[in-house]
Symmetry: C2
Subunit: 216 residues, 2 copies
DNA sequence: CTCCAAATGTTGTTATTACAACAGACTTTC
DNA sequence: GAAAGTCTGTTGTAATAACAACATTTGGAG
């Protein structure tokens, strides 16, 4: 088992921060490390105050959508962070719930403690904020790409857009989703997606075998 | 005509910063104020280095989508900022173009100059980062809401979700879009949207008159 | 190897949407 | 206040997707 410091060091939120400073930082942020068993609730819907840093295991974030369905928003394996968008946006209410998908260790940090008005150790304040900013900005970019996909009116156009983005310029690439997950990501019916993929193959637009795709 | 300092003060990126410090900050960030005439290009697609602060006028951000269509991403009137997501995410390439929709004054700041590794005046560094973080996080929240709308499979569900979010809990509210813009936002055909709205009214789900809506 | 379960592909039917074309209402301008 | 232009609503048709039900393939486990 790796120790806490090694686990934390690999987290993007601590990028650029020295291992030896880690303990000071946690102290100055009044942050503690929590252990959760599979299924334990880590955060409930409400006014967001803290964000979480996943040291080990996986955290699942869900929410109830407008129709009352429980939607899985994300699975955050270590090293990852969650709830940082909601606290940074200063939302009054965040409908998300986070719980341990498997046993995990998590650092919870009060956002107020890394904020400019906070007077504690400021040596790392800017660094932490910068890392958080990078993380949030990346999420915004991903969301923006998804909006671009979803804005297309046909499954074919959604697929072409999705595959372009997945391939990142390359003509051959492997995607990290099965058909079911892919369909949910681009918000279309799974069988309709399979059907469209087949048609596109027949028309010579793409080739594929399971998760390996090639754009012609 | 308001002076530059008043214009800047109202910008969310400078929230919490005193008027009297503004000049120091601009110096320390090596930032200058640029004036553009209507139609002038402010930023081209490429590796993003700088983000913009709109002091007066309006900046339009566009991009070419995957099919080659020119898409209007946003109109940013003063006091607003643009390109901050791309620089903060550290993208290698950003396909956005920004130009002056009307005559405008803009501060352009090199993101590297407010970054933790930058050694200049750090009194305001954390404050600027925090404000940027709030701005980017807000954009992420907006994008997330749009994904939720677009993930629905029928126009009716898209509309109900859109109206819920627009109303923010209130039963009666006014929306800032006409039908055309509304249709583009939720990515459906305008006439189909009008049609669906009428059906929903006939079924007693909603009432509306132009931009004033009421959820029953 | 055989059986099983999961993933993927196929087909047909029904529901929904895009698109086009037009009608009516509302605004603006002269 | 008439005319022009814009915005919104209506209708019909063709295209597309959802859904359901089933077939086939794949990858393991015994």
């Amino acid at each position: 088992m790796k120790n806490i410091f090694d686990l934390a060091k690999s987290n993007p939120i601590f990028k650029g921060i020295d291992c030896s400073d880690f303990k000071n930082i946690l102290d100055s942020l009044q942050a503690s490390i929590f252990s959760y068993n599979k299924g334990d609730v880590i955060m409930l819907a409400g006014k967001p105050r803290r964000f979480g840093i996943v040291l080990s295991g996986t955290v699942r974030v869900t929410k109830e959508d407008i129709d009352g369905n429980l939607v899985i928003l994300a699975d955050i394996p270590a090293p990852g962070i969650f709830n940082e968008v909601c606290v940074a946006a200063g939302l009054d209410y965040c409908p998300h719930t986070a719980y341990a998908l498997e046993n995990c260790e998590v650092v919870l940090i009060d956002y107020g403690n890394i904020t400019a008005s906070h007077t504690a150790d400021s040596r790392f304040q800017a660094l932490l904020l910068e890392n958080m900013l990078a993380s949030v900005a990346n999420k915004a970019v991903i969301l923006d790409q998804r909006v671009e996909i979803l804005s297309k009116h046909t499954i074919r156009k959604k697929l072409l857009c999705f595959l372009e983005l997945q391939g990142r310029g390359a003509k051959k690439f492997t995607i990290p989703y099965n058909r079911e997950e892919m369909a949910r990501y681009i918000c279309v019916d799974r069988s309709a997606l399979s059907h469209e993929l087949s048609k596109m193959r027949d028309e010579g637009l793409i080739r594929f075998q399971r998760n390996e795709f090639e754009i012609m």
